[in-house]
């Protein structure tokens, strides 16, 4: 789960990591109030989870109240990666001479957490020159480790202790809150030599959330994502007109590929999970029937532990409730003959293979 910048910065402050003075504002009027309480110039920063916020115009630096109001209006009206900013972080600008990078993150390939640090920050980490990468032991790092990273970066005696202190805090935060990523980019070196976290990116390990109830209610939940998560579905809204439902993450992913190749637009990714029962397919179909923008439903089931007859029964039940969107289905695997016989006389359009079902659902536009 990715935190909003203002949430990540609250977390930073609770671990003693320096961040600029800021106020969170939920509307234009609050932005004016926040502006008045800070020393200009201030940055207005859209609070969204999507990437590319700066490029999309989601950040503005303003020096007068009139500018603050105008820019706030503009930013609140933006859609950044399909996301409307629910709030702006109004933050004092921090005069600085250079921008560094520091993170503690999972290195999947090496199956280890690592520290990544560079004095050439402010850009994509992949293309950063001269970066230092060190493995982080599961038990945590110590002062000697932090000092060594500072020395590898060739920091001077003024900034090295500050930097080492920040690394120790960031690593402790990443470990205690079970982050996949805790990142400061940019880490600004102030004109007076003080270090400051100008941005904060934190991704918590979703699987570890049961140990961190403090994060459970941080996000305003989309109605459909909330329901899907209560049902135990893996669900992602995608914005198109064809709902994609299947059993198993990989199978649904490959169905999205078939659909994309055929020129169709998925409305969602919905994985029923393994061993799906009749009630689950019913709940899934009811959910996608209510999803805005859905015109047709593509169902791809490979029956194993999931019984295809249960799937067929579930489809029939939802159809009998009326107002169901047209269903294009491929149902294969255990007991498929029985399942097919069950839905043969229903309005469900049934196909032998996934590519055939996909072609048909796309053509029906």
């Amino acid at each position: 789960m990715r935190l909003f910048e203002f949430q990540a910065k609250e977390l930073f402050r609770s671990y003693g990591l320096p961040t600029p003075r800021s106020v969170l504002a939920g509307d234009v009027k609050s932005v004016r109030g926040a502006f008045a309480s800070l020393s200009p110039p201030v940055a207005l920063k859209a609070q969204v989870l999507a990437g590319g916020r700066g490029k999309a115009g989601g950040i503005a630096i303003v020096s007068t109240e009139a500018d603050a109001e105008r820019e706030a209006k503009r930013i609140f009206d933006l859609s950044i990666g399909g996301e409307k900013p629910a709030s702006l972080l109004v933050e004092e600008a921090y005069p600085h001479s250079s921008e560094w990078y520091l993170s503690v993150t999972l290195d999947r390939g090496d199956r280890s957490f690592v520290t990544i640090a560079s004095t050439a920050g402010g850009i994509e980490v992949e293309s950063m020159a001269g970066k230092v990468i060190r493995k982080v032991p599961l038990a945590g790092i110590d002062q000697a480790y932090a000092d060594e990273v500072a020395s590898l970066l060739k920091l001077d005696s003024g900034t090295a202790p500050q930097f080492a202190g920040m690394l120790l805090s960031l690593e402790r935060l990443a470990r205690e809150k079970e982050c996949e990523l805790a990142e400061i980019n940019p880490l600004a070196v102030g004109n007076d030599g003080r270090l400051m976290a100008l941005d904060a990116k934190v991704i918590i390990d979703d699987s570890a959330l049961f140990r961190h109830p403090e994060f459970a209610k941080l996000h305003p939940e989309d109605e459909f994502e909330g329901e899907a998560s209560r049902q135990g579905f893996a669900f992602v809204r995608l914005g198109g007109d064809i709902a994609v439902v299947g059993n198993g993450a990989g199978l649904v992913l490959s169905t999205l590929d078939l659909l994309g190749d055929a020129g169709g637009n998925p409305a969602c990714f919905l994985d029923l999970g393994g061993g799906a029962q009749q009630e689950r397919i019913e709940a899934a179909l009811r959910l996608v029937n209510r999803l805005p923008g859905v015109d047709r439903v593509l169902v791809n089931i490979y029956g194993g532990i999931t019984r295809t007859t249960d799937v067929a029964q579930g489809i029939l039940t939802v159809l009998s409730e009326g107002r169901a969107k047209p269903i294009y289905a491929r149902v294969s695997g255990a007991e498929e003959k029985l399942a097919r016989a069950l839905i043969a006389d229903s309005p469900v359009k049934l196909y032998d293979t996934a590519p055939e079902a996909v072609q048909a659902v796309v053509r029906a536009a």
Binding site: L138, E178, V236, G248, L253, D257, G275, G304
Partner: protein
């Protein structure tokens, strides 16, 4: 990597839970010797006539098993896994989904120090059709004995592709789900090394998906080791959006890291035959086997 032979005893941890019970039945039906189960506090009971013990130590002492398949809930997986490793288990299959990353990392570290093969978490397990050994949740009818080794990050795609191989007359020497998490106990490279020296295996099918760089690393490994057996790959997620977790915790693209395109290009560059859909896999296996004969 050593799998049980026909009739060798296997332990089920979490045997009294809903999934433990259900799949114990299916594993027994397949012909696998589930000799004991464990659930703390449920010792003395039985499930499908399999005796239940409180600890893995007792189960190991009574059966001599060195292989365990684990169905316990995510929040207890680390403790149960550590118990198995301390009790002398040498093959540990973690079916459980949603295990915290740091718990998995601790298990991997402990497993490495003890020379244990850990498969998963978040995986369907493994099946060796010629030995009637099934340590996992895959549907048996999709699989048949033969010469194709299947290694997959996804469960259902493994069943689907194995089913199509079976229908096309290509049985499997082994099928193993490495798991859909960002970090798993057994790497694709280790699976390929196993298959290369595994006599029954004539060709390898690798099923990958978006997220991470396991397939890119695999491609490097194939080139560097001048791999000797034909390989066919399928990668799911060519049309996947970025920054969205798609079903598996590990199936997520960040920027340009973890795209299907990068994986497909890397594998093609290593001489691997890459299918664009799961349905193409049997034909490519046939062609690859013919070319290598």
């Amino acid at each position: 990597m050593i799998f049980p032979k026909k009739g060798e005893p296997v332990i089920v941890q979490g045997i009294t839970g809903k999934y433990g019970r259900l799949h114990t039945r299916f594993m027994l039906d397949y012909g696998t010797n589930v000799a004991a189960g464990t659930t703390p506090g449920k010792g003395g009971q039985s499930v499908e006539e399999v005796p239940v013990y409180n600890t893995v130590r007792e189960a190991v002492d009574k059966t001599g098993s060195r292989s365990s398949v684990l169905f316990v809930p995510a929040e207890f997986t680390r403790v149960a896994g550590e118990e198995a490793l301390e009790a002398g288990i040498k093959l540990l299959v973690l079916i459980t989904e949603h295990v915290p990353i740091r718990d998995t990392l601790r298990l991997i570290q402990l497993g490495q120090s003890k020379g244990v093969t850990i498969i998963g978490p978040n995986c369907p397990g493994l099946i060796v059709p010629s030995e009637r050994v099934k340590m996992g949740i895959m549907p048996a009818p999709s699989f048949s004995p033969g010469g194709v080794a299947v290694f997959s990050r996804s469960g259902t795609l493994m069943y689907e592709i194995a089913g199509q191989l079976t229908n096309a007359g290509f049985g499997q020497s082994v099928a193993l789900g490495v798991g859909g998490d960002p970090v798993v106990g057994t790497l694709a490279t280790e699976c390929l090394d196993f298959a290369e020296s595994h006599e029954q295996t004539k060709a390898v099918v690798v099923v990958g998906e978006i997220g991470g760089d396991a397939e890119e690393r695999l491609a490097k490994h194939i080139s560097r080791s001048a791999y000797k057996k034909p390989i066919v790959a399928y990668i799911a997620g060519r049309h996947a959006p970025k920054e969205k977790k798609l079903g598996h915790a590990g199936a997520i693209i960040y920027g340009d890291y973890g795209t299907a395109e990068s994986k497909i290009n890397a594998l093609k560059g290593a001489g691997v035959s890459v299918a664009m859909t799961p349905m193409e896999v049997p034909d490519l296996v046939k062609a690859a086997l013919a070319a290598s004969a």
